[in-house]
Symmetry: C2
Subunit: 246 residues, 2 copies
């Protein structure tokens, strides 16, 4: 897995490439939670020195994707209920606020582009499912940009490392993907009709759907999780949100 093959296309500095590669390996669970990450070993395998590796790992630590213990080692972070709750809170808060702004400033041209994107998602459901996730991310990113809140997506994405891992662990059931597409359509329709309230509540519903399969995943892959309490994941993770707020 040399860096030249994995992500030379992404350009940028060695540090950025290393960050992208490592983040991808962690989010796709190719580096499973708990795995030890040695600066020396990673530097050798990626064909660079320790410095950019080290700096990339510091960034991943900010994302709570790795845990660095001085003089001991660096480890891929276990999935915890607290981390998932935090990530979900950040994502819902930022993206819902962003989509509300998007609904207020909805431009027909941009909405049309998003509809095309959703149509491509519907195709990807039936074809290669690995193509769905990038389209999903692209949808949410442009939804934020639509309201002039591109920063919402960048922060949300940065904080959603744990969520992306459980998303990857979820088996891509076609029905599930079709439901995603339908929810995207619902959000987009509300945006097109310039109804911030409905757009926000629809997006909130959509985002809460990501964690529904969590209990099952925690059961099939217990070694990926670190219980910071009980294992009652699904019950507390989608708290009854007040739909009337805001």
């Amino acid at each position: 897995m040399e860096i030249s093959r994995s992500a030379r296309v992404s350009g940028g500095s060695t540090r950025q490439q290393a960050y992208q590669v490592l983040r991808g390996l962690i989010e796709t669970v190719q580096f499973p939670p708990g795995q030890r990450l040695s600066e020396n070993e990673l530097a050798e395998r990626l064909g660079v020195s320790r410095t950019p590796i080290r700096e990339a790992l510091l960034g991943l630590r900010d994302d709570r994707l790795v845990e660095i213990v001085p003089q001991l080692g660096t480890f891929v972070a276990h999935i915890t209920r607290a981390a998932l709750e935090d990530a979900q809170f950040i994502r819902v808060s930022l993206e819902c606020a962003a989509v509300a702004d998007a609904a207020r400033r909805a431009e027909p041209a941009a909405v049309g582009e998003l509809e095309d994107l959703v149509a491509r998602q519907a195709e990807a459901c039936r074809g290669d499912v690995d193509r769905f996730y990038p389209l999903d991310d692209e949808f949410h990113r442009r939804l934020c940009s639509l309201g002039g809140r591109a920063v919402a997506w960048s922060i949300s994405q940065r904080a959603s490392g744990h969520l992306n891992r459980v998303r990857r662990l979820s088996l891509p059931v076609p029905d599930y993907l079709a439901e995603m597409v339908a929810q995207h359509r619902a959000v987009l329709a509300a945006v097109a009709e310039q109804d911030p309230g409905v757009a926000e509540s629809q997006l909130r519903l959509h985002l809460s759907r990501v964690l529904t399969g969590l209990g099952e995943i925690a059961h099939t892959h217990p070694e990926y999780f670190a219980d910071d309490r009980d294992r009652n994941w699904a019950s507390t993770l989608s708290p009854p949100h007040d739909p009337r707020s805001r």
Copy 2:
């Protein structure tokens, strides 16, 4: 300004201390926007090597407080309207969502502690005004923790570097501080009455107040600001830089 005198008390690694020191110097505008920051010079002045300085600067780049131009230099970021809007959006979105949760789970004991805190703020208004800002931060931090959303404050604080600078530039008019305290009381009252909607709208009103003096500050300190549209020298000084991918 050796690191041993400035922040040895903060403990932690050299990198964390360097980050704290530099962030403080930037937020208090002792390092004014546009100032050049040389790794070598900072390392010498703080009495450490370039490595922890460099890593601290990378963190400050994530916070958008410095701009690193490869092979050219590192500069304290100018204050821009876009950066302020982004920071404000993040802060409002996260803290409003957090305070809504706080209102739902309001515990009388914790509310009482916050009332004590507000009382101390009222004292600080008349006394040393420099004591007000830490109390202000503490109030917002504990408000987030109250609803189990401590992460909201940590992310908000990390993103609020630009806001903290304009706060520092605002002259501490006593009336202004008194108004802050009154708004804190209003938010807290809504939380105590377990009214998420009012708590959220009151906090939104309070947070929007921070930027009211912005126009005047931009007039008295034009050199600290960079119009993010024209001004030729600014475009060459902040060239189209890699869109934060770290």
